[in-house]
């Protein structure tokens, strides 16, 4: 176990260095940068822009900028945003809750509905339900989420007036009910794709298990179908889903780029988009490192969880 953890730790550090290197240099390859937006400001002279470049340290060689950034990070200084001058961790923290709320609720919906649809599809294979679920999943996977989002806004906000057209809350209200009201549409729209993915995996996993010998044995013992399903089939079918959940976990915190834009949700996805289009290098790098750590951590968590749940697997 200790060797496993040590091994993993080395891998993690190497991975983080590589991710940060690639991220930093690719980011700087994008033409423009944080001062490009002032190129057409009639009152800003070229000299003004050069002065700002120097003040921000952007005129130094790229490797110096990288080492400076990395050294600060190692000492716990994530830097400050070019855009609003706030500490990067504060910027990330300010968007984290919104994303957690949206992604959390949509993931709960997706897992609950997806698991149910998957299991029912497997136990009632090729039934009308199964066929509809299969087609539905394909449709949900092939149509971009922003289309669902815009159509949802058109129908439920503009035509019916049942749901708000976006935002996380009404300014000046912000009651729990208000949050929930605003949460309905984006979380369902976002869940659609995840339900599709999750239900397909769940269906396959259940089918794998359902024909195994131990299920036959259980049936031979005279257990009720319900008990077989709940105790023997689902329990085993969920094992591969832990890995999938592990892969999904970082997304819960890094947000959904498109859905957050369509529903004007002030989450991490939009922060990422805005920071890139502004050239806010410190925040983009911060987000990159944050999500890299999350991915690594979630995978580690999934591996450990599987080992705990499934005694046949040993970590080494």
């Amino acid at each position: 176990m200790l060797r496993f953890l040590l091994n993993r730790a080395t891998q993690i550090v190497a991975l983080l260095v590589i991710v940060s290197l690639i991220g930093f240099f690719v980011l700087n390859l994008i033409p423009g940068g944080p001062l490009a937006q002032y190129a057409l400001d009639p009152g800003m002279t070229q000299a003004d822009i050069e002065r700002l470049k120097e003040q921000l340290g952007l005129n130094r060689p790229l490797w110096v900028q990288y080492l400076d950034w990395a050294w600060r990070l190692v000492r716990g200084d994530w830097g400050t945003s070019f855009r609003d001058g706030a500490a990067v961790l504060d910027v990330i923290g300010g968007h984290l809750m919104a994303t957690l709320l949206l992604m959390g609720s949509s993931t709960v919906i997706a897992i609950a509905v997806g698991t149910w649809v998957g299991i029912r599809g497997a136990t009632h294979r090729y039934s009308t339900f199964d066929n509809v679920a299969t087609i539905g999943a394909m449709v949900a996977l092939s149509i971009p989420t922003f289309w669902f989002g815009l159509v949802g806004i058109y129908i439920f906000s503009l035509k019916l007036g049942w749901l708000p057209a976006g935002n996380m809350y009404t300014v000046g209200d912000q009651s729990l009910l208000d949050y929930l009201h605003h949460l309905i549409m984006p979380s369902i729209v976002l869940a659609l794709v995840h339900i599709a993915v999750w239900s397909r995996y769940m269906r396959t996993a259940t089918l794998d298990v359902i024909n195994q010998d131990f299920v036959k044995t259980a049936r031979a013992k005279g257990l009720s179908e319900r008990r077989i399903l709940m105790k023997h089939v689902v329990g085993n079918a969920l094992l591969p889903m832990i890995t999938l959940a592990g892969m999904q976990l970082p997304a819960i915190l890094t947000g959904a780029l498109v859905t957050e834009t369509v529903f004007t949700w002030p989450g991490m996805g939009r922060l990422f988009l805005d920071s890139i289009s502004y050239g806010d290098y410190p925040v983009v790098m911060g987000l990159l490192m944050f999500s890299a750590v999350l991915v690594i951590f979630a995978n580690l968590l999934a591996d450990i969880a599987i080992a705990i749940v499934d005694p046949r697997i040993r970590l080494s």
Partner: protein
């Protein structure tokens, strides 16, 4: 400026394409006969008594205001917040006339605020102004502000003009003087966008580029800092002690809605009371102006769209070619067919709302026959492929603009055809914004571009930076004269204009500059931008000011038709409302 606003995440184009896929579904939905509803029950009931009973206006912006230290480098979108929270010494009114703000009078030659040689300035200040934290505002704050801008460690915004200021002396808490290194008339206009910051809060700060002030600023303006939810909205609250007019609303909210389509949708549904930058897209104008309960109107911006030529190219050096191309520019068709009739024809770089706008310039007409005649007369003969040639120079050139701007791309395709008809070959070569407006633009590496530019700075008519021969980067100068235009008379006039303080005298100078530029045609003016402003009809007291960069330049005067703090009708809107409590 238009460039920066044209590159957002999901564009209208993608959205439209997506809606195209779903159009069948949407049409089917309409066939069900659902009545159109403009505001659902979930939307606040118009502008804007909020659920807690306070009068508020929600301004929707498609970019996020993030810079709240008004002296630090910031963009257009921050202006709405800065104008609401801070005051400058003087302000520019919608007619382009300077008005006192923190100063009691606009310094001029007549009142002795500016010496005859333009070198010595004296500003007298109001004595009834307090910072939002209650401390009195004094001349020390002004001195501190002007010095901070030129502090080499400070990430200041525009420094032009400020770098000429010397020997700032505080004569009394309400008076200060300084000396200018050289006479510089535009400085007065620059001061309209130089907001004064509190010395007592910034002087002791360890790092003036960062710190608490930037996150919760303190100004003297009609609105005080409320709170900010990054990525979502920012809330300002009324400063009931404001020395000037208003405010008549309790809360001013700036809401960030990154997608322009969604911003418009939220305006329709009533979640946004007033559409700010980047306003309503021209193709939504026809629908928007019919919306009940909304006031939708195109308002002149300061940006002028032009077919901008690089005079360094042999094709464009001859005036006849530029004249012929101008005749081949079907501007009315472009404005009406592509821009839904929103924008305004113009013959000059000077915005029409400016005090210095010359309305008497010759009007261009679309006349292909005349274009051909001019080229024939100048000796440009059609070659075998129909493209004209003179002295071995083919009348062929590239045209570039920001790629992905589909309206401009339509303009380019249209021009390609009409130019072909007079024997000129135009090739479209568009670039992503950051490449387009980098060295390619600054170092005059283009043949021709389509660009929307603001030529004047802060409503001052000085265009030295754009049209003076010394402002050509490609020839070792410094500025933004990327057309490489140089005319001795214009150069002399611009030099004179920058040293002349009398508005009438300046008017004559800049009228003449516009005349010459119209003759020389370094740029072929296409139109002056109009921004489609939209607001709830419940908002009163709103006035657009095209001499500023923001719709929210004077939110202090806004009030709600049924609001709690309406300005007393009998005394007119100049009188402050009854103070609360």
């Amino acid at each position: 400026m238009n460039e920066t606003t044209h590159r957002r995440g999901i564009g209208r184009r993608e959205v439209l394409a997506a809606l195209g896929i779903g159009a069948g579904g949407l049409v089917a939905w309409n066939l069900l006969g659902r009545p159109d509803r403009d505001a659902g029950p979930s939307a606040p009931a118009g502008a804007g008594t909020s659920r807690d009973g306070l009068d508020q206006v929600i301004v929707g912006l498609s970019q996020e205001p993030t810079v709240f230290n008004p002296l630090m480098v910031h963009g257009e979108v921050d202006d709405g917040v800065l104008f609401s929270m801070f005051d400058a010494l003087v302000r520019m009114d919608p007619d382009g006339i300077l008005q006192p703000n923190l100063a009691v009078e606009v310094p001029s030659l007549e009142n002795g605020g500016i010496s005859a040689d333009g070198l010595n300035w004296r500003v007298r200040l109001r004595d009834d102004v307090r910072w939002h934290d209650g401390k009195p505002f004094t001349a020390e704050d002004v001195k501190f502000t002007l010095e901070l801008i030129v502090d080499p460690a400070f990430r200041a915004w525009r420094t032009a003009g400020h770098t000429l200021v010397r020997d700032i002396k505080v004569v009394s808490p309400t008076e200060l003087t300084w000396r200018m290194e050289e006479p510089f008339a535009p400085y007065l206009s620059f001061l309209t966008e130089t907001f004064i910051v509190p010395k007592h809060l910034l002087e002791g700060a360890a790092d003036r580029n960062a710190g608490p002030f930037n996150q919760s600023p303190v100004g003297t303006g009609a609105f005080k800092w409320g709170n900010r939810v990054p990525g979502d909205h920012l809330q300002l609250v009324a400063n009931r002690e404001y020395f000037g007019e208003g405010p008549y609303i309790d809360r001013l909210i700036f809401k960030y809605i990154p997608d322009v389509t969604v911003l418009y949708t939220q305006f329709k549904s009533g979640s946004v009371d007033l559409v700010g930058q980047v306003y309503i897209s021209p193709d939504n104008y026809d629908e928007a102006k019919k919306l009940p309960g909304k006031v939708v109107e195109p308002v002149l911006g300061s940006s002028v769209e032009s077919f901008y030529l690089n005079l360094g190219r042999p094709q464009f050096q001859e005036l006849a070619v530029r004249q012929a191309l101008y005749y081949a520019l079907d501007r009315e068709a472009i404005i009406n067919a592509i821009y839904h009739g929103v924008h305004a024809l113009t013959e000059t770089f000077m915005p029409q709302q400016s005090y210095f706008y010359n309305p008497d310039l010759p009007k261009q007409t679309f006349d292909l026959a005349e274009a051909r005649r001019i080229l024939d007369a100048a000796g440009w003969r059609p070659g075998d492929d129909g493209i004209r040639v003179k002295n071995g120079v083919r009348l062929a050139f590239e045209n570039s603009t920001t790629s992905g701007d589909h309206l401009r791309e339509m303009v380019q395709q249209y021009l390609q055809q009409t130019f072909r008809e007079i024997g000129a070959e135009m090739t479209i070569a568009n670039l992503p914004p950051a490449v387009m407006w980098g060295d390619f633009w600054n170092q005059s590496k283009f043949d021709s571009v389509i660009v929307g530019s603001t030529y004047v700075i802060g409503a001052d008519p000085d265009v030295t930076n754009r049209l003076h021969g010394k402002s050509i980067n490609a020839q070792g100068g410094s500025g933004s004269n990327n057309a490489q235009y140089s005319n001795a008379e214009v150069n002399a006039l611009l030099d004179k204009g920058a040293r002349t303080f009398d508005p009438e005298e300046r008017k004559a100078i800049y009228f003449r500059v516009q005349e010459i530029v119209r003759q020389d045609l370094p740029l072929l003016p296409m139109f002056q931008y109009r921004n489609v402003f939209g607001r709830s009809a419940a908002i009163k007291g709103f006035e657009a000011n095209s001499n500023t960069r923001t719709e929210s330049w004077h939110a202090a005067a806004w009030y709600l038709a049924d609001g709690r703090h309406r300005p007393d009708a009998e005394d007119g809107p100049q009188v402050s409302p009854k103070k609360e409590g």
